[in-house]
Symmetry: C2
Subunit: 248 residues, 2 copies
Amino acid sequence: MSERIITAAVLIIGNEILSGRTQDVNLNYLAKRLGELGVRLMEARIVPDVDHRIVKAVNELRAAYDYVFTTGGIGPTHDDITSESLAKAFGVPHILHPEAHALMAAHYAPGQLNAARLRMAMTPEGAELVTNPISKAPGYRIGNVHVLAGVPKIMQAMFEGMAHQIKGGKPVKSRSISSGVFEGALAADLKALQEKYAELDLGSYPSYSMGQVRVAIVMRGTDEARLAACAEEWKATIVRLGGTPVED
Amino acid sequence: MSERIITAAVLIIGNEILSGRTQDVNLNYLAKRLGELGVRLMEARIVPDVDHRIVKAVNELRAAYDYVFTTGGIGPTHDDITSESLAKAFGVPHILHPEAHALMAAHYAPGQLNAARLRMAMTPEGAELVTNPISKAPGYRIGNVHVLAGVPKIMQAMFEGMAHQIKGGKPVKSRSISSGVFEGALAADLKALQEKYAELDLGSYPSYSMGQVRVAIVMRGTDEARLAACAEEWKATIVRLGGTPVED
């Protein structure tokens, strides 16, 4: 238990998420992958394409967590202001990154690398590029902040290309056991189980389908043997409460 | 333009979102509905089921925006700590709400309203209930904070039951025009259009499907005549750039 927990935050940048135009799916992807890498996602924020809002969120999150991942706002249009904002947050110049420039120059036909596209080769000074295997314009890392694209396919490709550099702790494992026993009927036993297995994180998640309630009890932790013991105890509890436990 | 903009934030409370177990869909629902009601969603945060994290987020958000909507953490199990945290955030006692108690007592068969279920009738002192037509346990409003369920179907029913109480400004309307013209090729014209229609919010959103890029230009604002003029101008620009504009 003395092992330090490695933490992360995700910052989603984009008016389209806050207007409801776009359903974000990047947070869920990063949450799962970070868990697999032994990094605990502790917080997420969604802010609009407004520079002082991005600066404030980046600076609060990078001070509070080991890793920060931003998504969105690194394209060539006027509303893509993530990179300028990151430079402000770090108090460094926003420069044409030589490697990024070379990448972009090689990718575009002569005359096609216009001013807008050249913006995608600009980063805060000191940034280290993150490869974009899909559309070339790179993401980057500066300090503990990883700046990724907003388009899910590109974000995922960028993340997977740099995932080996992320140093996590023990991966978090989970078990999930569902039944038709209502939350109100199982709460007291679940609370007692949480107290007994204090190092695990036990959550209760009801869902409704066809007028039927299912309640999933999710157990998360790094010690598989403890998880297994907890899961077995819970299955016995569900049987005692008159339910049929199903491992999800 | 002198009309005051009514703002909101959403606070999503729950380990299940941060662990990646659950894909949040509540933010997108609230974002769309608030826009229709003339309320601008300015920020969203996702925090775990940890009381000081909830308290801090609630207090920061309620001070910064006209409305705050929380989702999650109001069930009967030990991990449902939203309500206690709200009481702490407001500095008021966490009490058994008489109306909520009566509702729950009427809903459950004699002997079924156990201690866990009774927790769902507790609110910060001074809270005004928000009806839950699905599973009875109510949400509530305290100050400018609306405390809603996490299960999407229940959250939506709660929101719709209280939506008439939300006083927004002019509803935000949008137009969206897509084409196959790349962002890098349209960015300069789009920037000029944004400068001309400064009161509108123009965003550019690429998507990739079957190896084809589509770029949607979304225009948002409260003045439909200006939106229409902007949209017509943009369609002509796309034609000039060699594309075929399609209204989404």
